[in-house]
């Protein structure tokens, strides 16, 4: 029964997807949607979203909102960076793969950090082995490369830790 909150939050998310696909308020459609989303959520043990009810805790909810806005800002910055880079006559690149350490333990959080790093300025994630993350820089930062990379990874992982405890 410890999976019940996860199953319920997964079925709510699936029901939202169902509504935005059908866009209908017919009672038959809604009933079918509820039944199908419950079946899928129970069959997958709620693995799609995990327990979303922890976000109702105001501190964690604020942390999640903070993370989303930080991520959107970084995404816009990344595109300005790409934009300024590719319209030059000679593209300035100085590539390299740098290792950093992840302090966060949960697998879901690791996946979120890796995907966020892929969408932020100048970096993509190549691989995660254990708790080490390997980041590819299009233009290596000046100064201590490892410290800069670690600071960049921590800026995401630190914000996520507040959500995942």
């Amino acid at each position: 029964m410890s999976r019940t909150p996860a199953v319920i939050s997964t079925s709510i998310v699936l029901l939202g997807i169902w509504f935005s696909l059908t866009l209908s308020t017919d009672i038959q459609e809604i009933t079918l949607g509820v039944v199908v989303s419950l079946i899928v959520a129970i069959a997958t043990h709620g693995a799609l979203t995990g327990n979303l009810f922890t976000l109702l805790n105001p501190r964690k909810g604020l942390a999640a909102i903070n993370y989303v806005f930080y991520f959107l800002g970084q995404m816009v910055k990344a595109n300005i960076d790409v934009f300024l880079r590719i319209f030059r006559p000679v593209i300035p690149i100085k590539p390299g793969i740098v290792k950093a350490r992840l302090t966060i333990k949960s697998e879901r959080a690791k996946a979120i950090v890796a995907n966020s790093i892929t969408l932020t300025p100048g970096t993509i994630t190549i691989d995660i082995i254990g708790d080490e993350i390997f980041v590819h820089w299009v233009f290596l930062p000046s100064g201590d490369v490892h410290a800069e990379t670690q600071a960049m990874v921590d800026s995401f992982a630190g914000r996520l830790e507040k959500i995942f405890e």
């Binding site: 997807i17 509504f19 935005s20 696909l21 866009l23 995404m75 816009v76 990344a78 595109n79 790409v82 934009f83 880079r85 590719i86 319209f87 593209i91 690149i93 100085k94 590539p95 390299g96 793969i97 740098v98 290792k99 890796a114 995907n115 892929t118 969408l119 100048g122 993509i124 994630t125 190549i126 691989d127 082995i129 080490e132 390997f134 590819h136 299009v138 290596l140 490369v145």
Partner: protein, 111 residues
């Protein structure tokens, strides 16, 4: 012209520009990982801006467009990650212009 209309024009125009930039980046960048920088970041934000801009023109389409946007944001880094691993692990595909390569040492040490 209402405020919403201007916003929709700005969003679609910027989105199309960013999508063009992603095509140009994929064409011009020298090796796989750098192509991926243009191909992932620019297409994600470009699609998001473009689809939301069209959704502002036609508000009844917004839910379905938001679903496509959510799907693109969730899956685009995943396919990029899979391609990056493939490009690194296959010796004939790996680019040779890396200045620092920590992953090489780490894999060499493990085996």
């Amino acid at each position: 012209m209402s405020f919403m209309d201007i916003l929709a024009h700005v969003f679609t125009g910027l989105g199309a520009l960013v999508l063009f930039a992603s095509g140009l980046g994929v064409f011009r960048m020298p090796d796989v990982f750098n192509k991926m920088h243009a191909g992932t970041k620019a297409t994600t934000l470009g699609s998001v801006l473009f689809l939301i801009g069209l959704g502002l023109f036609e508000p009844s389409w917004m839910p379905k467009l938001l679903l496509i946007v959510l799907f693109i944001i969730l899956t685009n880094p995943v396919s990029s990650h899979a391609l990056a691993r493939a490009a690194y692990n296959e010796p004939s595909e790996k680019p040779d212009n890396l200045l620092i390569d920590d992953l090489e040492e780490s894999k060499g040490g493990a085996q």
